[in-house]
């Protein structure tokens, strides 16, 4: 017995946990090409649309100069708009990906193959979590950066160097980077954990299992007690946290400007969110161990 075990362990090459993790992440990106195709496609579309716009608008920009106060938002608006569009489309990708992450492999039975690999369930689940939490925000930022750079080039061709004066690009890029990493990645951690849990748990229809119970709880509370604490709490988990108090809705251009990193990480709600995410993930790992193909 012992000799067999030692020969087995001697013959299997040791792969460090970090290496297993990075290859698991690569596997996810290979299998789900929408992770990078969607932001790239949206970015290309934005650049094409901007090119059309510049060709149409260039004469007008020269003939009708606005006063500087109005010019500033008018110049900045398309850039903000582009980053919002990219953020939104990758958010849809993130939700879709995490709902499908642990369910799809069970449905097409590839889970049997992946489980035969010497990669633990914890590493697999963490690799799947890292896609919406880390990879997609970083990728979105990279694509947003490139898109806005091309938009800037097109704008310089169309409107001349006056554009440069009105655009705080460095500030905007930092704001976008912070928003994507801190908010889409870190603050929404409990949501990503919850989607992964639903994905690991559901035998059918994980999207419904992840969305309908919260909806039902909110409506049930409203009808039973006439209150809406749960809905408010969910809303806070969804949009709060940028500036601390829940009434600070970050869905404006202002969200790209506030970059108080220290205050964000000292927020107690961030850490309770992490705790929730950890619980969801632990459950997802347990479920992946126990559940076979559907």
């Amino acid at each position: 017995m012992t000799t067999g075990a030692t020969t087995l362990s001697a013959s299997t090459p040791r792969v460090s946990a970090w290496r297993q993790f990075s290859w698991s992440v690569r596997r996810e990106i290979w299998e789900n090409r929408s992770i990078y195709l969607v932001p790239l496609g949206v970015g290309v579309l934005i650049v094409i649309a901007t090119a059309i716009n510049v060709m149409q608008m260039a004469p007008r920009l020269h003939t009708a100069p606005l006063d500087p106060v109005q010019q500033h938002p008018a110049v900045e608006a398309p850039f903000i708009f582009a980053s919002l569009l990219l953020m939104f489309s990758t958010m849809v990708v993130s939700v879709f990906y995490s709902v499908d992450a642990l369910y799809g492999e069970r449905r097409d039975r590839s889970v049997m193959f992946w489980k035969s690999m010497p990669v633990s369930d914890t590493i697999t689940v963490l690799a799947k979590l890292s896609i919406p939490m880390l990879m997609l925000p970083l990728l979105t930022f990279a694509v947003t950066f490139a898109t806005q750079f091309f938009m800037l080039l097109l704008g310089l061709m169309g409107a001349g160097t006056r554009l440069w004066a009105h655009l705080g690009l460095l500030q905007m890029w930092w704001g976008e980077f912070f928003h994507l990493v801190a908010f889409h990645g870190i603050w929404w951690a409990p949501f990503w954990g919850w989607f992964l849990l639903a994905s690991a748990w559901a035998r059918r229809a994980p999207l419904l299992w992840s969305t309908l119970p919260p909806l039902a709880i909110g409506f049930g509370e409203k009808i039973a007690f006439g209150t809406s604490h749960f809905a408010n709490w969910l809303l806070f988990r969804f949009v709060g946290g940028m500036n601390g108090p829940p009434q600070a809705y970050p869905m404006s251009t202002g969200m790209l400007m506030s970059g108080n990193a220290l205050g964000f990480f000292l927020n107690i709600h961030l850490w309770t969110g992490f705790a929730m995410c950890a619980v969801f993930l632990a459950l997802a790992v347990r479920l992946r161990q126990q559940r076979g193909p559907v």
């Binding site: 789900n32 090409r33 929408s34 969607v38 496609g41 949206v42 579309l45 934005i46 094409i48 649309a49 901007t50 059309i52 716009n53 149409q56 398309p78 708009f81 582009a82 569009l85 939104f88 489309s89 849809v92 990708v93 879709f96 799809g104 449905r107 097409d108 059918r204 229809a205 999207l207 419904l208 969305t211 309908l212 909806l215 039902a216 409506f219 049930g220 509370e221 409203k222 009808i223 039973a224 007690f225 006439g226």
Partner: protein, 315 residues
């Protein structure tokens, strides 16, 4: 090669006469199959309804008489709104659940069977692709009608429960029965369900089925992102929002324009559905060209989905 080896055997066996099954029967059993395979179709609205009933029961027992007393002290106009509110919430939740389940079902209908390879089995049956697609397309409509029935039952039980508790706490239940005209609520809901959810949303379901038949991966993204991208690109390139307006029109339905005739009244009464009856106008609805264009588009989508199903195998 194959034919040569099989000829002696086939000459020995008497020719197999295929049993002719009527198309209606095929369609019926295909729909049965969908209901068996996707139990969320009826479990989700039923679960929502039972959840609501439990919540409603807690609401009227945990706060005995208290809320009813405050409601009865209100002036009649507000009283009506306060009494009708839980019924409207129930209606909204059940119909929203059914709507989401319908959307999700359509997106998964032709994609899921390719993904788990069961399509190979289903294609081996003597059921045409068109019949299969039609049976799948009829499921969201059946689901909506089913959830209408569930809503009616839920609201009826809620009415009985609330009158029992009101009587038990020594108050007269007559106010509840007088102020709450459930039959009117049901008539409006039926009208809304048939016109908006069944007829007006037909192209929506058709589109989802088409994407489901077409997409190799990520059907959800293929269904949503192209529409979004068109709208945003139009906004950036030409600074117009024709596509977004058109999409909003397809979602809100022609009824939204009828409601806007009396916005003040509906906001005042605390529930637009109570006043919807005044704007019930089937003649106008059926003479909207958008409806018939939408139905034609839905038929085209379904035909395309049936064609695609013929040529696409498992993924």
């Amino acid at each position: 090669m194959n034919t040569q080896s099989s000829t002696p055997e086939s000459s020995a066996i008497p020719p197999i006469v295929p049993v002719v099954i009527s198309p209606v029967r095929l369609l019926y059993w295909s729909i049965q199959r969908e209901l068996w395979e996707n139990r969320s179709i009826y479990i989700a609205p039923l679960a929502a309804a039972s959840f609501l009933l439990v919540g409603f029961l807690i609401g009227i027992i945990a706060l005995p008489g208290h809320r009813m007393a405050t409601v009865l002290s209100l002036p009649p106009a507000k009283q009506q709104a306060a009494i009708a509110l839980p019924y409207e919430i129930a209606e909204g939740l059940i119909m929203a659940t059914a709507f989401f389940v319908g959307l999700y079902y359509c997106l998964d209908a032709l994609h899921g069977e390719r993904r788990d390879r069961s399509i190979l089995f289903w294609k081996s049956l003597p059921v045409s692709d068109l019949t299969t697609v039609l049976s799948k397309a009829s499921v969201p409509f059946l689901l909506i009608l089913l959830s209408f029935a569930i809503t009616v039952a839920t609201q009826f039980i809620m009415l009985l429960l609330s009158s029992a508790v009101t009587l038990g706490s020594g108050l007269s239940a007559a106010v509840v029965w007088r102020q709450l005209s459930l039959s009117r609520l049901w008539l409006m809901l039926l009208y809304h369900v048939v016109t908006v959810h069944v007829l007006w949303y037909a192209p929506l379901y058709g589109w989802l089925l088409l994407v489901s038949a077409w997409a190799r991966r990520a059907a959800f993204l293929w269904a949503v992102l192209p529409l979004l991208a068109i709208g945003f690109v139009e906004k950036i390139a030409f600074n117009t929002t024709h596509f977004a307006h058109w999409l909003a029109y397809r979602f809100s339905g022609p009824e939204a324009f009828n409601f806007s005739a009396s916005p003040g009244v509906s906001a005042e009464a605390g529930g637009m559905s109570m006043n919807m009856i005044t704007s019930l106008n089937p003649g106008k609805f059926f003479s909207t060209p958008g409806l018939w264009i939408g139905l034609a588009v839905a038929a085209a989508f379904l035909y395309a989905a049936a064609r695609l199903r013929r040529y696409r195998g498992p993924i």
